[in-house]
């Protein structure tokens, strides 16, 4: 039982919630860039929270199903069709053997999540199916999806046709504010440099991938060129010699020697990953306590919006 890839699109990757506990071998996390959209994909499909889905970058994925089951697409606004008929995103749809599932290209946002009831059955590597292409690990042989790939999944009949009402769906925008917890190397950035960082507009550059997003804007000077290499957390904002910030994401290197001005909140890093080159970013400093409260609120409200059931 499986689905077969007809067209892989720009960059389609199998992802579960990510790899944990292997940083000491130099393995990064992988996992979905937009955790909220990934979470809703599995929640709508009534899957376990860690189920394997496809992260579609930009769009253009085409699959054919060899099984009767259910699918759901969340995230960026990529048109979804089944056998040429447009279907709503953020909603569970039945598919049958022989159906063709197609996603167009995103109008706003960059990444969408296509899930299947029960998740794709992929052999985990270091405890996770998350594909990290740079490391050749996870997914199918550590590579992005290719035409002809078979993605095993089960035949499933009993699933509610859940959907997330449009008013509750995230609105992807072209300008966002990223909240930042000031970091360990704060003292290496003079007051004026910190002010410039938190008051300027930065643009998303062309050099953005799952490892990190390079931004362009007023350069930030640092008193030191490098530091003794140390562990890098998710969302860390490095300032390399050219002064242009890099926000490090899921596939980041585990250790690095550039000074860091702070770390972006994970919630905001998810939103950042939905921005295309040219979009704008502002940074706002927050305390650890504020960050913790924002996370608690997201856990209780943003991720727990009520799902409705469609009765065909």
């Amino acid at each position: 039982m499986s689905m077969t890839v007809l067209q892989p699109g720009m960059l389609s990757l199998l992802q579960d919630s990510g790899r944990r506990g292997h940083h000491r071998l130099g393995l990064s996390n992988g996992g979905p860039l937009d955790r909220e959209a990934y979470h809703y994909c599995n929640r709508l499909l009534q899957n376990t929270p860690n189920a394997t889905v496809i992260e579609i970058g930009a769009g253009g994925l085409q699959l054919t199903t060899q099984v009767d089951t259910f699918i759901c697409l969340t995230g960026a606004s990529m048109p979804l069709s089944i056998n040429g008929q447009e279907r709503a995103r953020w909603e569970v749809h039945p598919v049958s053997e022989g159906d063709i599932v197609r996603t167009g290209f995103a109008r706003v946002g960059c990444r969408a999540y296509l899930g299947v009831a029960g998740g794709f059955s992929i052999e985990p590597s270091f405890g996770s199916t998350a594909t990290v292409v740079r490391e050749h690990i996870g997914g199918l042989c550590g590579a992005p999806l290719r035409g002809g790939d078979r993605l095993p999944c089960a035949a499933i009949s009993g699933r509610k046709r859940l959907y997330l009402p449009e008013k509750d769906q995230p609105r992807y925008q072209n300008t966002i504010t990223v909240r930042v917890i000031p970091g360990y190397q704060q003292r290496h950035f003079k007051r004026a440099e910190q002010r410039r960082f938190f008051s300027s507009t930065y643009r998303v550059s062309e050099r953005c991938d799952r490892m990190g997003f390079r931004l362009q804007g007023p350069p930030i000077a640092c008193d030191v060129e490098g530091i003794l290499s140390e562990g890098i957390c998710f969302g860390a904002i490095q300032i390399p010699r050219d002064g242009q910030p890099i926000v490090l994401l899921n596939d980041r290197q585990t250790i690095g020697g550039y000074p860091k001005i702070g770390a972006a909140l994970s919630l905001d890093a998810s939103r950042l990953s939905q921005l295309a080159p040219g979009c704008s970013v502002h940074f706002a400093p927050v305390s650890v306590g504020t960050a913790q409260r924002a996370l608690d609120m997201a856990q209780r409200f943003t991720l727990q919006k009520p799902l409705l059931e469609r009765h065909p």
Partner: protein, 215 residues
């Protein structure tokens, strides 16, 4: 982030290792991941499941007894290296810059015992120190797009073996035929942080016999 010093040295490394063991025991399941490096430990927990202040309190109490922790002695691993211009494209330029012959460079690189200070950057990439001052060389001004798998390289007073093809700005002086990272084998790496590593010069023929690749 926990800092245990501000320079790379064997004593700080031992302290980092002892702290890693203590923190693993103290936090147990609440520890998501740990990234030891030269003089620091990045400690990752899940703020959705654990209270930050409680974690800090538990860390403080386990670290006060840190000195008493026994320091584990690492193993010694010998890695064969084929040092040559064809396997390490920067060997000759590095020797010239240092005012030494390539033989002297090979001699200095292979007669030093190195410690594994950290693993990171890429799976299986072990940062080894310290390289003899006479052959310490800064990184290339612009990194190469593709460094061959197995490349043995120097950057400042650090040396390493590239576990797989990747971009890199270190100076390449030879190649090692031993796989530094194998995903489906336990253990995945021939070395661990704290271990001692020596390099042993081998001939081209021996390098190829050991499975080395010159492409």
């Amino acid at each position: 982030m926990l800092y245990l010093g501000d320079t790379a040295n064997a004593q700080t490394l031992s302290l980092v290792q002892a702290a890693a063991v203590a923190i693993e025991q103290a936090l147990g399941e609440d520890l998501v991941d740990l990234v030891p490096s030269y003089a620091s430990l990045l400690i990752l927990y899940d703020p959705r499941l654990c209270n930050r202040l409680t974690i800090i309190r538990r860390l403080r109490s386990c670290l006060t007894t840190l000195q008493a922790q026994p320091i584990t002695a690492g193993r010694t691993t010998v890695l064969p290296v084929y040092y040559a211009a064809e396997s390490g494209v920067d060997l000759e330029a590095l020797a010239e810059r240092a005012g030494l012959s390539t033989e002297q460079v090979i001699d200095l690189h292979s007669s030093t015992e190195y410690r594994v200070y950290a693993i990171g950057f890429a799976p299986g990439f072990a940062y080894l120190g310290e390289v003899d001052e006479r052959i310490a060389t800064p990184r290339l001004s612009s990194p190469r797009a593709e460094v061959p798998r197995g490349s043995v390289a120097i950057a400042d007073r650090q040396t390493a073996v590239y576990p797989c093809v990747s971009p890199g700005g270190w100076n390449l002086i030879g190649r090692c035929p031993v796989a530094m990272f194998t995903a489906d084998v336990e253990p995945s790496m021939p070395v661990a942080v704290g271990d001692t590593v020596r390099f042993e010069p081998v001939s081209r023929r021996r390098f190829l016999q050991l499975g080395g690749d010159l492409s």
